[in-house]
Subunit: 152 residues, 2 copies
Amino acid sequence: MPTPLEACAREVLDVMPLVMRTVRAEMRRHRAPGLTVPHFRALAFLGNNAGASLSEVAEHVGLQLPSMSTLIDGLVTRGLVSRAPSATDRRRVTLNLTPSGQATLATSRRHSQDKLAARLASLSATEQATIMQAMQALRVAFTPEPESAQPG
Amino acid sequence: MPTPLEACAREVLDVMPLVMRTVRAEMRRHRAPGLTVPHFRALAFLGNNAGASLSEVAEHVGLQLPSMSTLIDGLVTRGLVSRAPSATDRRRVTLNLTPSGQATLATSRRHSQDKLAARLASLSATEQATIMQAMQALRVAFTPEPESAQPG
DNA sequence: TATTGTTATACTCTATAACTATA
DNA sequence: TATAGTTATAGAGTATAACAATA
């Protein structure tokens, strides 16, 4: 007989991959500029944290530095992100969304959001509110603790 | 100003990758026999659906048939899954967990569950209950229907 | 001819290791 | 010496295409 906490963990473990698979499949089907979930999350982070460094994005998205370097490289090549040396510390890079990046983010987010919303629309308003609350609680529990650098 | 439904979709889109990244990282760290999330989900499905065919597992996990064939191949090689021709239709394959597979599933599930539970323990009992309810609602909304929305 | 599954092949994503540049 | 980032290289994981076997 599992405790409520155990049951909750198991349910999360069971259901989240199910949801993410749908999201991923939809992103792939849409395939605007081949935006994967990590691409998307990097763009979203830069949308909220203009001028962030590579390390900050990497930590937030959960990739190693070389992987994020490559990922950002692709976004720079595609003209979605600008990359420049920091004025105060020339080891660092300053990352920003270009106008095109902002537009792409908005479009892609809208698309994924709409597809997700279409699914969620089959649920009651109460259930939707419950999901909203659950996500907010999970965000708190799973936001990585800043070890060295904290974005403004 | 987004509607509640839109806000909910956006929150899901934002938070779920955050959670799944932690789960994945933990699985990788544990690295029992290199069980990935899809491996795990395939084992879990077979645990609940003994004798399932390859197509059934593939549909549930959300992989293409060749990918699932390879994945199952690895599980068979590792002695976690048995694979035999179906008695009634020899094109089909009958998949089952071996005792070792059952044990591995239990151990891995317990491990991931424990790690997840440790995170969730920082939340209140009310929040945990909310998450539980949210997952149950999401499960309903995202369980793939056997409809022919997925052509072959 | 249609369905189930496997094999062959290639591509994407991410990691580790080695390196450069700056502090 | 330590930190930020890049480049080189390798290895998982998954997809598409071609194939084999059965219905």
